[in-house]
Symmetry: C2
DNA sequence: ATTACGTATGTAATAATATAACACTTAGAG
DNA sequence: CTCTAAGTGTTATATTATTACATACGTAAT
């Protein structure tokens, strides 16, 4: 099948390690920690922390995943176009994390920083909440 | 000396360890890392990471210092009333950190989350910038 | 095809950050 | 004084992340 198929951009094709790390995060949907990812992917051939961290770094750089700084965890990007501006809610009780998609909020923040002459290159917003199910119980 | 002098609120008085850690952060003005603090305060009698982390935890809880999550560092609060809502700029080139005091921005963010019915308990905003001196050079 | 180059890989060792466990002390409340 | 909550000191250990180095692989130019 296929002759001389030119992959126009090598950089858009994930390597094996990047692929399996991304797939795990995709299937999980939750934030995962690097060493959990390592343990989970032992059977796929990942043997060392560095293999995981390298894949994570690249995926973050590509914007396919995000790091949630306050919990040292990584989560699949749930948003079509973050452009490295990220915003999350984190439940203070159960730890559940959601990426904020609300365009009003993110645009509002962008406007605010412009209005206040903060020339930012990107931002990361972590909002702590009590999630619905935690509020009930 | 002193007869029955009642410290109305014990919780407002810092302990020795909390005091010396706070003083160091105060005098520094920059974000410091826990193990740097430990090394700096060996001569003051701090011998173990736990002594530092315990003091830091308490000071964060009291709102006297903040943790900057993306660099695992702690900085004196430069603001009279953060109420655990924090906002920083971090230079992507030199690492310089500033606490944002801009009330327009922080109020604006609070309004935005209200407008969008995010019931948050607190937030931490980390804005990445190219600081003035880095922009020049 | 050969070379050169940038990127990725595999592996071992180690650094940096943070917490658990336990025995003991201190200071305030009643 | 006695009880209790909070803080201390210390050792050990867990968790998170990087350095260093040798090797492989894909692309593009020669
Ligand atoms: Zn995203
Ligand atoms: Zn919850
Ligand atoms: Zn502050
Ligand atoms: Zn700078």
């Amino acid at each position: 099948m296929s002759s001389t198929h030119t992959h126009s951009k090598k950089s858009q094709i994930l390597t094996k390690n990047q692929r399996i790390v991304l797939d795990l995060l995709q299937n999980s949907g939750e934030p995962l920690k690097a060493y959990f990812i390592l343990d989970s992917l032992k059977k796929e051939g990942l043997n060392s922390p560095l293999q995981v961290y390298r894949a994570l770094d690249k995926l973050v750089e590509l914007g396919k995943i995000h790091k949630i700084e306050s919990i040292n965890s990584f989560i699949i990007c749930n948003n079509s176009n973050c452009a490295s501006n990220t915003a999350f809610t984190i439940c203070e009780r159960c730890g559940k994390v959601k990426e904020i998609k609300n365009k009003n909020l993110t645009d509002g923040v962008s406007d605010l920083v412009k209005d206040n002459q903060l020339e930012i290159t990107r931002y990361n917003l972590e909002f702590y909440v009590l999630c619905k199910s935690c509020k009930i119980n």
